[in-house]
Symmetry: C2
Subunit: 142 residues, 2 copies
């Protein structure tokens, strides 16, 4: 059996980790603030999780979404659980902006523009605040 | 304000509908069994829903995923909540196969092959069973 890269590696810069899951920041030059919520155990699909664990995972996804909205104020949040290449349960959380490289298309489509460097730099400057907000939200009870 | 197409229209062939949400079958020739779970009220993001409603919606998403896995036995399920073009909360649930038009890439990327007509016809033949399974799963308590 092939090695799973999300079993072997963190999948990004870890912002938060507990026994069940971790939140990482994705290094994508076009999408500052792109996060992943990764279930630590090697599970393939949402419906392979116990129902209580599905709730735990989606609560974390929503908490990270809340942090992204608060700090980055994006036009839209995109959530996706794909895993065709790495079938280890993980959620992509992508803050989308009207001036981003693919808007209004999904980020996996062909790009339609280049976002201005200074705009990307302004968004990158918010990443420390995003990391603090993620930790604050995921440490909440609800 | 522009009219919202998911407020005005069903968004697909309705399989199930209750007061809060509906499940529809998407007419996509390359992806038989592609379903959407659509929140009936005009809400933009998951975190605009009350926490109990988020759970209700994700429970339905998982129930439809379970029906798709049981009937279609896909290689992978892809879940996505995008809404850049239609910012009315809806989930895409796409059964993925190694021989589908984009695998292992997301369906929004460039296609990499044409699936054989007879394979697509075999999958389409399962749609009545899928519709029955969706109704059975979403009518369950858990």
């Amino acid at each position: 059996m092939a090695v799973c890269e999300l079993c072997e590696e963190s999948g990004g810069e870890i912002i938060f980790r507990n026994e069940q899951l971790r939140v990482v920041l994705v290094a994508d030059a076009n999408y500052p603030g792109f996060c992943r919520v990764i279930w630590n155990a090697h599970v393939r699909e949402m419906t392979d999780l116990a129902i209580a664990d599905r709730s735990t995972l989606m609560r974390a996804v929503c908490q990270v979404e809340a942090a992204q909205r608060e700090v980055l104020q994006p036009e839209k949040i995109n959530l996706a659980c794909l895993g065709n290449m790495v079938p280890h349960l993980h959620w992509h959380l992508i803050p989308r902006f009207a001036d981003d490289a693919h808007f209004p298309h999904p980020i996996w489509a062909a790009s339609v523009r280049q976002t201005a460097d200074e705009v990307l730099a302004q968004r990158r400057a918010l990443l420390p605040a995003l990391q603090a907000a993620v930790i604050r939200y995921v440490s909440c009870a609800s």
